[in-house]
Symmetry: C2
Subunit: 200 residues, 2 copies
């Protein structure tokens, strides 16, 4: 197959797109257990960036599963394919000049590293949304932990499937502490402005 | 599976993103035979739109196959899955506020209609890049028709697989005529400005 497929170099390049948007493109990759607060935090960060006129887009693990990945289940193989496709979509959005935020459990090192490897140096910002399993399970906003404990959901991260903690995430936010969402958002935005400047 | 997946409403909506970009989002879906000039035309239209400070992104059938769809071949089923995923990615880009251009052969009515159905009324603009098979085969820029005739490529559109001509495309560009690329681009941009106004 490979030899029948040719790479077309688009005449409009990433830096042309970034120039129109007047900022660089990045991926903010939120990872953490179910119930750790990834989506809530990613949504709030997106809102903040949007107020700064930054062109953002949020890809959410749950949302994407209704569309692009609706053919995939939750086996290890399906989770890997889930993250593989998302990594590729992230690559397209970063190439399009957008600051893309993703909120997936993304439990495995190798899958997160794969997504990182598709981008250029400094474009992939791993944000570990850290929260003890006991707290996530107590929150259980969707009742999933209860079902997992009862054996109704197989391969559930933290219960019957592993979560591999990030070893060197760019940012760690501990959502199990008594810190307001606003403060968490501020920590991330401050960190981005200092270390991964988005605005030109 | 369905009942374990929840739809998160992003706090930043499509019209917020469009407001930052100061234009509406659209999909310009180029369809036609291999060698008809889809990629060339889509690239040239993107360049023109980019000059007008419109936030564009080009998804190309061949390029996408190196990433998101690199696991897919060219059987009817794979082609269908190819276009399904692309339709979903287009939906994400339009939701992100971008004018997305796609250049795929996309030979079947049902697949193009599926992609259209994922968008809102007026967002999907089907551009039929019309060119006689004999001319495409004579051009044969990648030598694919020759291989297909020799039986080296199975299921090749126009030779051993059907191409279903669009019945009601928004725009038809006949690239088999003696019309310059610039004029073809101008026809599309004029049509968009008149019928599918992008700029606010």
């Amino acid at each position: 197959m490979k030899k029948e497929v040719y790479w077309h170099t688009s005449k409009v390049q990433k830096n042309d797109r970034q120039k129109i948007k007047q900022h660089k493109s990045r991926c903010l990759w939120f990872t953490g257990l179910s119930g750790s607060g990834k989506s809530t935090l990613a949504n709030a960060v997106e809102k903040k960036l949007c107020e700064k006129k930054i062109h953002t887009y949020l890809l959410d693990g749950d949302n994407i599963r209704h569309g692009l990945n609706k053919d995939l289940g939750f086996s290890e193989q399906s989770r890997e394919e889930n993250i593989r496709r998302l990594g590729e979509v992230v690559r397209l959005f970063v190439d399009a000049g957008v600051v893309v935020l993703t909120a997936f459990i993304s439990p495995y090192h190798k899958d997160r590293d794969m997504a990182r490897s598709l981008l250029e140096e400094g474009e992939f910002i791993e944000i570990y949304v850290k929260c003890d399993l006991a707290i996530c399970e107590k929150r259980d906003p969707k009742g999933l932990y209860k079902k997992a404990r009862e054996g109704d959901i197989p391969n559930f991260t933290g219960i019957s499937a592993p979560y591999e903690e990030p070893l060197n995430p760019e940012i760690t936010i501990n959502t199990g502490l008594e810190v307001s969402l606003e403060e968490q958002v501020e920590t991330i935005v401050q960190y981005l402005e200092t270390h991964y400047k988005i605005e030109k």
